[in-house]
Symmetry: D3
Subunit: 63 residues, 6 copies
């Protein structure tokens, strides 16, 4: 704790995940003033069939 959950689309590049986790952790350390080691970040990748924005599935938007 703090725990940070990131719900987004698929992120195939592990390098992008690595940078995301590192940068978000930096921001949390600065805001909360707690040890870096306490920070947990979880990335949740969601299929375009499972996300709707404005009432429309991303899978349908892409068409």
């Amino acid at each position: 704790m703090p725990n940070i959950t990131i719900d987004g689309p698929r992120l195939e590049d592990v390098g992008k995940k690595r940078e995301l986790v590192s940068a978000v952790t930096d921001a949390a350390v600065k805001a909360f003033g707690l040890p870096r080691q306490a920070m947990v970040v979880i990335i949740k990748e969601n299929s375009p069939e499972n996300v709707g924005v404005g009432g429309v599935l991303l899978a349908d938007r892409a068409k």
Copy 2:
């Protein structure tokens, strides 16, 4: 925002997902009085091995 997360069993039919996202978005627009485009719905599909109701896995119930 508003963000709506729906945790349920697997939903194989994309038509059902489409209707679910649309109807839930309608309900949120009506309640919050915010633009339809602001509404995000995420469907989370869970395996029967990963859900317990009343202390029993759904995977065991189905047997």
Copy 3:
């Protein structure tokens, strides 16, 4: 289960909450084909100081 979590701004009118829960439950019953009694909806109300859209707090936008 299914569990539906709605993260939004404050919703002061309990009548709006009542309608939101009812309509979202209707949509979930139709999509999942599970009993109405199984559906759980939780509304999470968030302060404008605790929500950022596009990197800006809603509390700052309102100004």
Copy 4:
């Protein structure tokens, strides 16, 4: 409701899931004084590429 969500690493052994759900449900029944049947537990399994602790992906730690 109550709904309990467990975000962890992969848990391959269904026997461990079964015990986890049962024990967590026992604890919730005792704390809330609500019927066992009301308790819902969802296990979320996360890939080591999608979890960062202390700013480092678990996938990188394992190396």
Copy 5:
């Protein structure tokens, strides 16, 4: 990580919270085989106006 989130009604007695966190942590240590210190439990207390079961607010059921 693992992170366990418990969404329930209000739980006024801190003793019940203490026991809940301890017992849930025990169960997670046993299932995941990870150090006790890694386990994070967050209790989320929800008002009866913000929870619907079967499409009906708990606040309305209580009446």
Copy 6:
């Protein structure tokens, strides 16, 4: 979407929230390559009575 949820202790200083939301949004824009305006960050503040680390409430640790 992407949606980022930050569960932490209370954060009284709105300036810290502002910076946290901005920095986390920067990181997400870089990782996902999506418009800044799409990013939603929600900060969830938790009481020390409602968080357990290593099976012990933060409220008890502070003593």
